[in-house]
């Protein structure tokens, strides 16, 4: 097992990250293309909005899995974490843009919806929290912010939770899927809690 993980980590180290940005963004463009050409059914706007929302949540969760994987299994994907986070942000942003430009369309209604519809408010809060994280996901910001950078990026936990709660709130009737996402997130968050260390004498 350990040998396997070592080999995996070794291989992962040799994979360059930049092509992965492109690779991971391809589904978004692909679904847009399908929407244009009838591949998403007769109501492509909702379908695209849903696909992008799911991808956003999935990449957010993938980003959240990096630390527990390393801590508990020794699998080191740390170098991909920024990529995963930025790709997730790309999907949240395009999800939001589909909502604004294709779905709602009407400016006065957009603002009303953000304030009046709790599930939109929650999704929007998730987006707003992710914005500074995306803007500071570069080496310069990491250096500039120092220890504050880590503090700031803890907002990701809240944003992912908001994303999942947004999903729970928007489905009709009782559906299991959003709860599975929420459970995955809570599990990944729980796995980051370190067992309480013995108190260090001051």
């Amino acid at each position: 097992m350990t040998a396997l993980i070592d080999r995996f980590n070794g291989a992962a180290r040799r994979v360059p990250t930049w092509p992965l940005y492109i690779l991971c963004a391809i589904p978004g463009f692909w679904f847009f293309y399908l929407g244009l050409t009838g591949g998403l059914g007769v109501e492509p706007i909702k379908a695209l909005e849903h696909k992008l929302g799911e991808l956003a949540l999935q990449f957010l969760i993938a980003g959240l899995a990096v630390t527990p994987l390393r801590r508990h299994l020794g699998v080191n994907l740390l170098k991909f974490r920024r990529m995963l986070g930025l790709v997730a942000f790309f999907y949240v942003l395009t999800h939001l843009l589909v909502w604004l430009l294709l779905d709602v369309q009407i400016v006065s209604q957009i603002w009303a919806d953000i304030l009046k519809r709790p599930y939109i408010t929650v999704g929007m809060a998730g987006f707003v929290l992710l914005l500074p994280l995306a803007l500071t996901s570069n080496n310069w910001s990491v250096r500039k912010l120092g220890p504050k950078w880590r503090q700031l990026h803890k907002l990701a936990y809240v944003a992912v939770l908001l994303g999942a709660i947004h999903f729970v709130m928007l489905v009709k009737g009782f559906q299991i899927e959003p709860y599975l996402y929420l459970a995955a997130i809570l599990t990944l968050l729980a796995l980051r809690i370190r067992p309480a260390r013995r108190k260090v004498a001051i």
Partner: protein, 300 residues
């Protein structure tokens, strides 16, 4: 009675243009003889609305008994056995019992009704239904004087309906109308679309169509109709009373708590479809009298 209501969206909206021109010529000829003058005029005054295609109407459905995805019904509804079929009509009726589908069809006059269809999710279609008035079916069973409401129930067959395995709603699906709504000439029992038998995903072999209410009121694959004195429970209202009322009339001024009902998107416009304003009672103003004196914000 059949033919108590005449389409405002006309056959012209369904028939390919070439055929329609022929038809118009025929109508014109008849009109000259003073027989179908009214029809001819109405064809002139038709709205510029095109019914949705067969493909659109039969591939984008909400029928949670087959799954919550819009394409699930088209994918899985084949497993529903619709023949033989019978509808139990009971409660406050003179002749309660099981009415076989063939027996019903023999007694009914099937006509075409081209209706706007507005889903509570703010999308809409125009559907050329074939069917008969619910009033005629109720007359077959003989409504008793004490009856004030009509309750409906969808088939509940876990072996044929995979979606029933999930507790999305409290199965079986039930709906209800006030008796005067049920007897209104617009209220249809649909058995076909585009002159073809109604496909399973659209509610075969017979379903309700109440065009001035949100789509979920138009319950599918009906197995039971019960005349009652009290307002019957309805599925979405049971699931979330704050979001779905008993009446659920299309009303652009009363928003769903989670989205605006002021506008809707016609299915079929592609990725850049524009929204259009939603009409009060989905454009069927003739039902307004049913709700006179009622606060429609309270009774949503």
């Amino acid at each position: 009675m059949a033919f108590r209501w005449t389409n405002d969206l006309t056959r012209a909206d369904v028939t390919p243009e070439r055929l329609f021109l022929n038809r118009r010529q025929i109508l014109g000829g008849l009109a000259a003889g003073g027989i179908a003058g009214g029809l001819g005029l109405r064809a002139e005054a038709q709205e510029a609305l095109e019914p949705n295609t067969w493909e659109e109407i039969t591939s984008y459905n909400n029928y949670y008994e087959f799954g919550t995805g819009k394409d699930d019904p088209a994918r899985y509804a084949d497993s529903l056995v619709t023949s033989p079929w019978s509808v139990t009509i009971d409660g406050l009726v003179d002749r309660p019992g099981d009415y076989g589908f063939a027996q019903i069809m023999e007694a009914m006059t099937v006509e075409e009704r081209i209706y706007r269809f507005r889903c509570v999710e703010a999308w809409s279609m125009v559907v050329p239904w074939n069917g008969f008035e619910l009033a005629d079916l109720l007359e077959m069973a003989g409504v008793q004087t004490g009856a004030r409401y009509v309750a409906f129930q969808t088939a509940n067959r876990p072996d044929q309906m995979p979606g029933l395995a999930r507790p999305v709603l409290d199965w079986p699906y039930v709906e209800g109308l006030r008796l005067d709504e049920a007897l209104h000439p617009l209220t249809l029992m649909a058995t076909g679309i585009y002159d073809r038998p109604i496909p399973n995903q659209n509610g075969a072999p017979l379903r309700l169509v109440v065009p001035w209410k949100y789509g979920f009121k138009s319950i599918k694959s009906i197995v039971r109709i019960t005349l009652t004195e009290d307002e019957p429970p309805t599925s979405w209202n049971k699931a979330n009373a704050r979001e779905y009322g008993f009446y659920s009339n299309v009303n652009p001024e009363v928003d769903h708590p989670r989205w605006s009902q002021a506008t809707e998107r016609r299915i079929g416009g592609g990725l850049f479809a524009r929204r259009q304003p939603t009409l009060m009672f989905n454009g069927y103003d003739e039902v307004a009298g049913l709700y006179e004196g009622m606060d429609l914000t309270e009774n949503f």
